[in-house]
């Protein structure tokens, strides 16, 4: 795989905007095409607001046929296309291209079919994640993946990012909860991936498309699996006098044969930040705290919560509280769910990292982060999807104070590299987007990146779909180090992030 095209280079010639708008107007209703500067600015970034770029135009198709036609026009004119769902992503995956069209799928928001017996829902990509569970609740069913932004994020975006959530240890990521997709290629061809059964013959294209960050195709329809709602859920809250002991408790819970529905850890800085803000009743003197949720039938929950409590006690928990009812369960969760905005109240800016590490390296990684925190002179509380090793360090800074923003950025890059060093990854669930494009050069070797680029070309020969994101070119990696990428704060400080 010697030859590698520069997929993140802008097209050689500037796009003729007037001509492009004329062609797009022919296939889109008037209100579905934005091209005046003031109409375009709301689309200039996604949840990562430091990376802004105004696109040439925003297309807001109302059906798959319009999506197909827009893509076809862009393909013929060699114009980059950036697909966008709800724009809540945290890695800049939907940041527009300055010479491109943003294809916003927000008008495709119909739930097309719910089959309660076969336990599926067929929806358009702009449907909000939580709206699916709300629509099927009357049948006693729900859609399991629950990214923290689920009140706002769209299912199409979830497919693009392979979104996780608090419950993915037990219920899996987006890829594990999909049956079928309709996607449109850059050439305007509609493909059906998967089936109404559990698999389809040939290559597992579902696995390839899910999490491909808009680089391979545009999703126009999603059929998801629905699960029966558990009869009961209960949370055990446990305090520990060291993060290492809390980490050991996590390992011991899993080694004891329990797969809790959720297993979250917060360190002391995170507990204190949250408690000032939410008053969830968290133990302020604890060095670390675990929230462990068990769900299932009444009997299953009784058995599991007892087992988990015993293990936590044996692992050195200084205090264990069990939620007595659903109100208390939600109260226990409220602090965890408010962790990001709570941190945002203490200092104006925070930068959320998203590495995943082998759980046994947790103590070492947290010690490393603490050392880096001193080195960079910035505070860094940690929240952790402990069950599956996904760590969210929150680097706190004030962008208006000296070089704090630059220090936060450098600190973040070092954390990602620390995650790679211990055998982990730079992104567990937020995606690479534009944010972590340089760290891809650290995680993967040139021939591995070349394989990604070859796959990209197999679906998008001219590199028009979301160029410059997710997979760096080899040239970019060669230049990495000399580059200085501005990182940034989030655009939706009030949206729950956990």
């Amino acid at each position: 795989m010697g030859k590698v095209e520069l997929l993140d280079a802008p097209p050689a010639a500037l796009v003729d905007k007037a001509e492009l708008v004329r062609r797009l107007s022919a296939v889109l209703p008037r209100e579905c095409l934005l091209h005046e500067h003031e109409d375009l600015t709301p689309y200039e970034c996604d949840g990562l607001s430091a990376h802004c770029q105004v696109p040439l135009a925003v297309a807001l198709p109302e059906d798959e046929e319009q999506v197909r036609r827009v893509l076809r026009i862009c393909f013929e004119a060699r114009v980059p296309v950036v697909a966008r769902g709800a724009g809540t992503g945290l890695s800049g995956g939907a940041m527009p291209h300055g010479q491109g069209v943003t294809l916003a799928l927000s008008k495709l928001q119909r739930i097309l079919e719910v089959d309660p017996v076969a336990r599926t829902a067929r929806v358009q990509p702009g449907v909000r994640n939580l709206a699916i569970s709300e629509a099927v609740a009357i049948h006693g069913l729900y859609y399991a993946p629950d990214p923290s932004s689920q009140i706002a994020c769209s299912i199409g975006g979830n497919v693009a990012e392979n979104s996780g959530g608090v419950h993915c240890l037990k219920y899996g990521l987006t890829v594990h909860n999909l049956l079928k997709l309709r996607v449109v290629t850059i050439e305007g061809e509609v493909l059906e991936i998967g089936s109404e059964g559990l698999d389809a013959p040939g290559y597992d294209l579902m696995a390839l498309i899910t999490g491909s960050e808009g680089l391979l195709a545009v999703v126009t329809e999603v059929t998801v699996k629905l699960l029966p709602k558990p009869v009961r859920a209960q949370v055990a809250l446990a305090a520990f006098d060291s993060v290492v002991k809390a980490g050991e408790a996590v390992a011991n819970i899993i080694a004891a044969g329990c797969i809790p529905a959720g297993l979250e850890m917060m360190d002391k800085l995170a507990i204190q930040a949250v408690e000032q803000f939410v008053h969830a009743g968290y133990p302020l003197d604890a060095e670390a705290m675990l929230l462990c949720e068990c769900d299932g039938t009444d009997e299953e929950v009784v058995a599991e919560i007892q087992r988990v409590s015993e293990v936590m006690r044996a692992s050195g928990a200084t205090e264990i509280r069990l939620s007595r009812d659903d109100a208390e369960r939600l109260k226990f969760w409220s602090g965890r769910k408010a962790a990001f905005p709570a941190v945002g109240r203490i200092l104006p800016d925070y930068y959320c990292m998203d590495g995943t590490i082998p759980k046994k390296r947790l103590g070492e990684v947290l010690a490393g982060i603490a050392a880096l925190s001193k080195e960079f002179g910035l505070s860094c509380p940690n929240v952790f999807h402990a069950g599956d090793g996904n760590l969210h360090p929150l680097i706190m800074f004030d962008a208006n104070e000296g070089d704090q923003a630059q220090r936060a950025e450098a600190f973040g890059a070092r954390i990602l590299e620390l995650c790679i060093d211990v055998g982990g990854t730079i992104t567990g669930e937020h995606g690479v987007g534009i944010e972590k494009i340089n760290q891809m050069c650290v995680q993967f070797r040139p021939n591995e990146l070349a394989a990604f680029l070859a796959i990209k070309r197999a679906l998008d020969e001219h590199g028009l779909l979301n160029p410059g994101k997710a997979v760096p070119t080899l040239r970019r990696c060669a230049e990495f180090g000399a580059m200085h990428v501005q990182r940034g704060k989030e655009k939706f400080p009030d949206l729950p992030r956990f």
Binding site: V117, T297, D388, A458
Partner: protein
């Protein structure tokens, strides 16, 4: 340090690539009957074996591709864990590499996940003999395209799988199998109804006029569900599910079609035998009906038919033109000289 077995495999791949000679990647050879054709000179990976890393509390096992599946299952059992996708072996020499390459899952699949679902990372040789790593040993990882999961079910057509990291799960504390004498239509209705309720069901199968349902979980949870569902308790449940998984059950032994369909699809009514698994979404059919009729019935039921065993060289699957084109381009991307598993999956690539 480069492993001598890997460097020899890589050298053979490079040579075959230069000469554009076909290679067929082989583990235990137990699944040679699956898929379309075997072409080219065997590239044996069974010698590259051994569990590389396993810690129960990480829920991850990493092993070389030639490691016998039985050895992996024994290792996991000692840690109180299992391969929750329950992959079939189809013979004592089945390997991990073959399991992933075939991508076949067993009775627990609709409840726990497929082989593909549990793949976390792979180390592979591409069509130019380069050693590449994708994914990793952690459960959540969205860096780069998911090439590791693409390897699952690719039947050795995209690269040589050298090593795999899998997510593993705790083995349940208790398992019980219940049996109900019901016809096919009633079984389909029952499986789907129970799948929509919070019950600890972990396998379903309708064969020979009886619906078997396995419950898994804590003693308390299983006891409560058993009392609720009724039925007759099967004495040797594990033996029954092993027979389903390994296809030694009557109705699964002969020439067979595999139909992956919407679970609520009514009885398909083909002459011959039928075994139903996966809450109705997997139908194993032994029939002399014309292939075209089977393909169409599956399509009408929202899914696909694959000739699983005994096709005698007839095409085993139908891919839509667009999807077929995508297969060919992906194959060319990872194996530009077209040396791996020529025509293994499809007559056109």
């Amino acid at each position: 340090m480069i492993d001598p077995i890997v460097s020899e495999l890589a050298e053979r791949v490079r040579k075959a690539a230069t000469e554009k000679r076909a290679l067929r990647i082989r583990g235990g050879g137990n699944k040679d009957f699956c898929a379309y054709k075997l072409e080219g000179e065997p590239l044996d990976v069974a010698g590259y074996r051994g569990v590389v890393d396993y810690e129960p509390s990480e829920l991850v096992l990493t092993a070389r591709a030639g490691t016998p599946l039985a050895e992996i299952e024994e290792t996991l059992a000692k840690g109180g864990q299992m391969l929750a996708c329950e992959p079939p072996h189809f013979g004592p020499s089945a390997t991990l590499g073959g399991c992933v390459a075939a991508g076949l899952s067993g009775p627990r699949r609709p409840f726990a996940g497929s082989v593909r679902d549990f793949v976390l990372g792979t180390r592979v040789l591409n069509g130019e003999g380069e050693e590449l790593r994708f994914g990793g040993q952690v459960m959540k990882n969205v860096a780069g395209f998911d090439v590791s999961r693409l390897m699952a079910g690719s039947f050795g057509t995209l690269g040589v799988i050298l090593e795999v990291s899998l997510k593993v799960l705790p083995a349940p504390e208790e398992e019980v199998t219940l049996r109900f004498q019901v016809d096919e239509a009633k079984a389909i209705e029952t499986m789907n109804r129970w799948a929509g309720q919070p019950l600890p069901v972990s396998a379903t199968c309708h064969a020979d006029g009886a619906l078997s349902v396995r419950l898994s979980g804590s003693q308390l949870g299983v006891d409560a569900a058993r009392a609720r569902l009724g039925g007759e308790t099967v004495l040797d449940g594990p033996a029954f599910w092993r027979a389903v998984r390994e296809q030694t059950l009557d109705g699964l032994r002969g020439p067979l079609w595999r139909l992956s369909v919407k679970p609520t699809t009514p009885p398909l009514g083909f002459p011959g035998t039928q075994v139903i698994e996966w809450n109705g979404s997997l139908r194993w059919i032994g029939t002399d009906a014309p292939a075209e009729q089977v393909f169409q019935a599956a399509r009408k039921a929202g899914g696909h038919a694959t000739r699983f065993r005994g096709g005698n060289g007839a095409p085993i699957m139908r891919l839509d033109a667009g999807v077929l084109g995508l297969h060919q381009r992906l194959k060319a991307a990872l194996d530009p000289n077209g040396i791996f598993g020529r025509h293994r999956l499809h007559p056109d690539f």
